[in-house]
Symmetry: C2
Subunit: 333 residues, 2 copies
C-alpha cells in the first residue's frame, strides 16, 4: 500500500497524536481517546461556541478549522466514518461558554443521527444546541431536493462566516441564521480524476479509468452524474460553473467568493489554472470575484480532483468574509 502509516487500524490515533504534539499551543484534547479536540483556550466565555465533526481522511476538514476566529471544537471519527455522540458531547461540554453551541456539519446519515443524539444529551445538561447541516454539493441531488444534498468543501464558508458572526458577540439564533444563510448561498461542484485508498482496505474502493473523469463524485467516492474522457481545464471549469449558476442564478454585479479546493493529489499549479478559467467565466457574466481561496480545504485522502464552490454574498456576508482567523492549518489576517 502506497502510504506512510503504521498499523492501518491506528491511522487516526497516530495522526491525532502527531497533531497534538505539533499544535498543543492551539489545540487540546478533552478525551483519553483524543476523539474530541477543542481550542486551547476553550471555553471562550460569552461567545457562542461552534462545533463540527465527521470522518477522518479529509484534512484540513474537519479538525483543521478549530482555532481563533473559527470553530471551538470538533469530534473526530475514523477514516470516512462518523464520530459517536459521546465524542460530540465531550466537545460540546468543553466549549460551552454560556451562550449555547452551534453544530455545523455535512449532511451524511451517520453524522446527522449522532449529532442529533449529542444535541439531545447536551439538552439534558442544559446546554442549548442548534444545528445547521451543510448541503452544498449540487451533484448529489437534483434541484428541489436541496436539503438532501451532501455537504462538501463549501462547508468552509458556513464555518468561516458563522464563526466571524460569533466573534461579534451575536447570540445563538443570529449565528445560526448566518450559517443557514451561507448554506443557502453556496454551491459546490466537484470532479474526480482518480480514486482514493482507504488505509484499512489497501486498494481503491471504486474505479476511475486512466484519462477519465467523474463529474459530481462525492468525497467518499459516491458516484457522480457524468462520466467521460477528461476535458481541458477550461471546459471542466465551464461545466462546473454553469452547473452551479443553473442551480443558483447569480445576478450581474453581485460579489462572490470562490473556493478552488484540491481533493488531495492535485498540484496547486492546476488549481490556479482552473481558478483562471473560473474567474474569467464569472467576469464574463458580470459577477465580481471579491475573495477567493485556492488550495486544499476538504480532501479525500489522495484522490486527484478538485471542486469549485461559489458563495453569493450579500452585504452581511461580505463583511464577515474578511474577519481574520487563526488555526494550525490556515491563517487569514
Amino acid at each position: 500500500m502506497r502510504k506512510f502509516i503504521n498499523d492501518p487500524e491506528n491511522v487516526v490515533d497516530d495522526m491525532l497524536e502527531g497533531l497534538l504534539l505539533a499544535h498543543s499551543d492551539q489545540l487540546k484534547s478533552v478525551r483519553k481517546d483524543n476523539r474530541a479536540l477543542v481550542r486551547a483556550d476553550a471555553p471562550v466565555q460569552g461567545k457562542v461556541a461552534i462545533a463540527t465533526g465527521g470522518g477522518s481522511g479529509h484534512l484540513p476538514l474537519f479538525l483543521g478549522y478549530v482555532g481563533k476566529g473559527m470553530l471551538d471544537g470538533v469530534a473526530v471519527g475514523d477514516i470516512f466514518a462518523s464520530p459517536n455522540p459521546n465524542q460530540m458531547l465531550d466537545a460540546t461540554r468543553a466549549i460551552h461558554g454560556g451562550k449555547g453551541v452551534l453544530y455545523i456539519y455535512g449532511n451524511y446519515g451517520g453524522d446527522v443521527m449522532n449529532f442529533d443524539t449529542a444535541s439531545e444529551l447536551a439538552d439534558l445538561e442544559n446546554i442549548r444546541v442548534e444545528s445547521v447541516v451543510a448541503t452544498d454539493d449540487v451533484a448529489s441531488m437534483p434541484k428541489s431536493h436541496e436539503q438532501q444534498r451532501r455537504g462538501v468543501a463549501g462547508m468552509f464558508y458556513l464555518y468561516k462566516l458563522a464563526a466571524a458572526k460569533a466573534e461579534t458577540g451575536a447570540d445563538l439564533d443570529e449565528v445560526k441564521r448566518v450559517a443557514e444563510k451561507a448554506n443557502s448561498r453556496v454551491r459546490t461542484m466537484g470532479v474526480a480524476l482518480s480514486p482514493c485508498i482507504l488505509p484499512a482496505v489497501g486498494h481503491p474502493t471504486f474505479h476511475i479509468g486512466e484519462g477519465e473523469m467523474e463529474v459530481g463524485m462525492g468525497i467518499h467516492g459516491e458516484p457522480g452524474i457524468q462520466h467521460g474522457k477528461i476535458q481541458s481545464a477550461d471546459e471542466i471549469a465551464k461545466t462546473l460553473v454553469s452547473s452551479i449558476l443553473q442551480d443558483m442564478p447569480i445576478e450581474k454585479g453581485q460579489k462572490v467568493s470562490v473556493l478552488i479546493n484540491g481533493l488531495g493529489a492535485t498540484p496547486l499549479e492546476e488549481l490556479y489554472i482552473v481558478y483562471k478559467a473560473v474567474h474569467t467565466l464569472l467576469e464574463g457574466y458580470g459577477i465580481e470575484v471579491y475573495s477567493r481561496y485556492i488550495g486544499e480545504f476538504a480532501t479525500s485522502l489522495e484522490m486527484a480532483g478538485l471542486s469549485v464552490s461559489i458563495l453569493n454574498m450579500d452585504e452581511e456576508l461580505r463583511e464577515l468574509i474578511d474577519v481574520p482567523f487563526h488555526t494550525p492549518f490556515r491563517v487569514q489576517i
Copy 2:
C-alpha cells in the same frame, strides 16, 4: 493525462495568469511574459531585497514565498526548467531598494549558471548582488561533498531566516551570513512512493513500483540511494532522521525546527503520522522541537512522498524563526 490543464505548452502561463488574477493585492508581474514576479509594494526602500527562482511544478516553491516578511521577487521557469538570466535580472531591478540583492536558490546546474549571469548583468547596473545556494539534500551527495548537494525543501529555512534578518534592516553581508548559516545547519532527507507526470510528456518519466519506496529521490525524480519495499511510517522516519543526524550531529539540549514536507499527493494525515515519529525520535535523543512546519512546502507535481528537514538552531536563528510573514500561500503570525 490525469491533469487539469489546457494546452500542455501553456501550463506555466495559465498558472501565472490565475495567480495574478487571484493575488494582485500581494504580487505584481514585471514582465510581459509574467516570468518575473515581485511583491506588490516592491521595491522596499532601505531593505536588502531577496530573490529566488527555479523551475515550475514545485508550488509553493518558488513563487509562493514572495511576500511581506519573506522574499521580494522570483524568476519563474517552465516545468522543472530554470528561468533565464533576463527574467532574473528583471526581478532584481524591480526589487532593489538601495541595499543590494541576495539570491537564494537551489543547487541545480541551470539555475546556478543563469543566476550567475544575472548577477553579472546586475553588477553592470551597479546593483550589488550576493548569492547563497541551498544544498540541504543529504542523499544527493556523500559527506565531504556537501557543496555539490541539491537544494530541496530545507531551502524554506534559508528564505525564512534571511528574510527575517533583512526585516531588521541588516545589510547585505549580514543577510547573506544568516542564509549561509541556515544552509550549514539544515539537512533534508526525502522518500518517494510514486513518480510524477510532466504535463508536456503525459506519463511518468521514471518508475517506482506499487508498494515500493525510493529513499533520497530528488524532487525531479533524480535517483535515490535506497530502493525497496515500503516500510512503516515509524521505520521510514527512523531512516530519515538517523541519516540526517549522522550527517549533522545535534547535541542534547539543542533546539531544532522540523519541516515535514509533502511532495504532492501525500495526505496531510500521513504527514502528521510521520511528524509524531520524528518528534518522538528527536525527544528520545534529548533534542527539543522548538518549532515545526507540516504541509506542502516544496512539491514535485503529484508525486507521492515526503521529506523531513531538520534545522539545528542557535540563539540567532531561534529568534528569527518566530518573525511573522505573509505570502499568498502561507502566513505566519
